[in-house]
């Protein structure tokens, strides 16, 4: 646990703006869409930081900014005590060994006309392994992701979805990265397959001490793999804390609504719970509400919320909330009776 305290990835005040349209002369964008707004978090070796939120909250954009697949507009990204925000493409190349990504759809992220062995060797070649060590490494990687050795000679289309995702994971860990960003790695998989991939990720992390940034919309999946979780809404982290604290004692009304919206696979509890149903829809991100971005759908809204944007403040050590009126959900009276959801 001691190295959990030294962050291997540190993201500070990261923002990303996308230009929308252009002015009459075509020289300047007409508008800027702020997809990620002033986000800070850090991950330590062997730790999983979960990022959750609904579509359009900016979680995937954030993931891509961390890898510099998208250029952040402002803020800093520090990887293993080195600021990579301003690295050129050439300077980035050696850093890529330390920073890898797994995408949602393994079918479109694996080259269709390469064998699995070839796909896995691409990354290894950059590391500079000779042919022989390369072959042993591929054997080792397939073992690590619990696939039979004959997979090496096959093509991506011959594998099932779960197997393909395991190859995506094998490719990411092949160069011994310090940090892996997992962008919805199991959302395309069936439940029975998903469980195997999630267990594999936990197992790999224990063995290899990698830091994971786990991006997903499914809160129960995120809870299962994450040590700490950040909840995003319209480009901002609105609540962040240890997984168990966030689930047992959420303070932000949006986190509470999100938890309350998810159906429980338990008929008696599902039918007896009182549910907070969020009214309205996600505001237009081009014109986000003034002050607190959640105020248009919030049950606790006060005049102050429209004028002053709440900052992330500590509710408990390590648990921060961006809300002027944080606190337990008033509609949930039976918190201690084992039914907080």
């Amino acid at each position: 646990m001691s190295d959990m305290t030294i962050p291997v990835l540190d993201v500070r005040n990261l923002s990303k703006d996308f230009p929308i349209g252009s002015n009459l002369l075509g020289t300047k964008p007409a508008q800027m869409l702020r997809a990620v707004s002033d986000v800070s978090f850090s991950v330590a070796a062997g730790e999983t930081f979960g990022l959750v939120g609904e579509s359009g909250c900016g979680k995937s954009t954030l993931g891509r900014c961390i890898l510099r697949l998208l250029e952040p507009s402002s803020g800093t990204i520090v990887l293993a005590e080195r600021d990579i925000t301003k690295c050129t493409a050439a300077e980035m190349r050696p850093m890529r060994r330390d920073l890898q990504i797994v995408f949602q759809d393994p079918m479109s992220s694996l080259h269709p006309s390469m064998t699995i062995a070839r796909i896995l060797s691409e990354g290894l070649r950059l590391v500079g392994l000779d042919k022989k060590t390369e072959a042993t490494r591929i054997t080792e990687l397939l073992e690590l992701v619990q696939l039979p050795q004959d997979v090496a000679a096959r093509y991506p289309h011959e594998l099932s979805g779960g197997q393909r995702q395991r190859i995506g994971i094998a490719r990411a860990i092949s160069v011994n990265p310090k940090v892996v960003v997992l962008d919805e790695p199991v959302s395309a998989l069936d439940v029975s397959i998903q469980a195997g991939v999630l267990n594999l990720l936990r197992d790999l992390q224990n063995r290899l001490n990698i830091a994971f940034v786990f991006i997903a919309h499914d809160l129960s999946v995120v809870r299962y793999v994450s040590h700490r979780i950040g909840v995003m809404y319209l480009g901002q982290i609105i609540e962040v804390g240890p997984a168990e604290v966030l689930f047992k004692n959420p303070q932000h009304p949006y986190t509470q609504a999100l938890l309350s919206a998810i159906p429980l696979a338990d008929p008696r509890r599902e039918r007896s719970r009182t549910r907070t149903i969020l009214q309205g829809e996600l505001p237009n991100p081009l014109d986000p509400p003034s002050g607190c971005r959640f105020r248009t759908r919030c049950a606790r809204v006060q005049p102050r919320c429209a004028t002053e944007a709440p900052a992330l403040n500590d509710a408990d050590p390590g648990h921060s909330v961006a809300c002027h009126f944080p606190g337990p959900d008033p509609t949930k009276t039976s918190l201690k009776n084992g039914a907080p959801l």
Partner: protein
């Protein structure tokens, strides 16, 4: 009409031509839905849950061979001439699909499409009356400013609003049966909660029976009275929601429940089901779950078990008795 069920499916089969003879996607399923009840059909991709419903509505391509029986209010749907089934579809049976963007015509306004649905089954209604009915329907599914919304095109609606509009259209002719195929899969959870709430309310108020097809056990847990679990083109277990969740007698159902991470409790270790679902081209002989089943015995590879009463549920497993009682998850 009491006594006879709203929908009664017996030995329904659907096959498609394959490279080496026909491939059966649905291999003989029996289901019963009473009026005003909700039946959940749960299964993973390729289990045949959608194909089964498309088969009885005759929405499959004409190359498909369909056999068996599906009686809706006593009327046989299988083999019914298309002209006649079109009188029932969209009138007595409403449908909601997963992706509302592809279910709507992109070049017609939402209002025009609902009006079309109304006038198709009611030739006498005037355009003006149909329009006001369409606006009324949009209002009933809680779409704000229905008057203006009726004049907009599908792309101007958000995902949740589009799904509401599809529900409005499905309800246009006051159906007694609603078939909802993954109605909330494409939606965010907070929107899903809104839509499920709406569907539950509307079905209760209007006494509509519903077949809810989903891969999400959480969705059926709160919505369905009865649940059928499908695997490899067959129903492997049916029972009430409580029986399926707390007293399952089938290793697949048990595995499915154990594979889901819990939202409200810390899960120490998920139990995954080894292997992958069978392809319809190479289905194993005997029980199709046997290759992945931790309880499989040589006999499971020989006989494909029929549904039979084991304790409280109907279960298709040769060794169900041994599982009975240990299927309990959380009470």
């Amino acid at each position: 009409m009491t006594g006879s069920p709203l929908l009664e499916i017996r030995d329904l089969r659907a096959a498609f031509p394959g490279p080496s003879g026909p491939v059966e996607a649905v291999r003989g399923i029996d289901l019963t839905l009473e009026a005003s009840e909700v039946l959940g059909i749960v299964g993973e991709s390729g289990s045949g849950k959608s194909v089964a419903m498309m088969a009885l509505l005759q929405l499959l391509p004409s190359t498909a061979t369909i056999s068996g029986s599906a009686r809706f209010k006593g009327q046989e749907l299988i083999g019914m001439p298309r002209r006649e089934i079109r009188q029932i579809l969209g009138k007595d049976i409403g449908c909601i699909f997963q992706d509302p963007l592809s279910a709507f015509n992109p070049v017609l306004t939402i209002g025009a499409q609902i009006i079309e649905a109304i006038r198709l089954h009611d030739r006498k209604i005037s355009k003006r009356a149909a329009l006001s009915r369409a606006v009324e329907l949009l209002a009933s599914v809680s779409i704000p400013q229905p008057q203006q919304r009726a004049r907009q095109y599908p792309h101007e609606f958000s995902g949740g609003m589009r799904q509401r509009a599809m529900i409005a259209m499905a309800l246009a002719n006051e159906p007694s049966l609603l078939i909802a195929d993954e109605p909330t899969t494409a939606l965010d959870v907070t929107v899903q909660a809104q839509i499920l709430d709406l569907m539950r309310k509307l079905a209760q108020e209007r006494g509509i029976g519903m077949v809810l097809i989903t891969h999400d056990l959480g969705v059926v847990a709160g919505m369905a009275r009865d649940i059928a679990v499908m695997y490899g083109g067959r129903v492997v277990e049916t029972g009430t929601a409580e029986q399926i969740f707390y007293d399952t007698n089938h290793p697949y159902t048990q595995g499915l429940i154990a594979a889901m991470p819990s939202l409200d409790q810390k899960t120490d270790m998920l139990v995954s089901i080894e292997g992958t679902p069978p392809s319809i081209f190479s289905r194993p002989p005997g029980c199709s779950f046997a290759p992945r089943c931790h309880m499989a015995q040589p006999m499971c590879g020989e006989t494909d078990p029929e549904l039979r009463q084991v304790n409280t549920t109907l279960t298709a497993c040769l060794r169900a008795e041994e599982l009975a009682g240990q299927g309990r998850v959380t009470a």
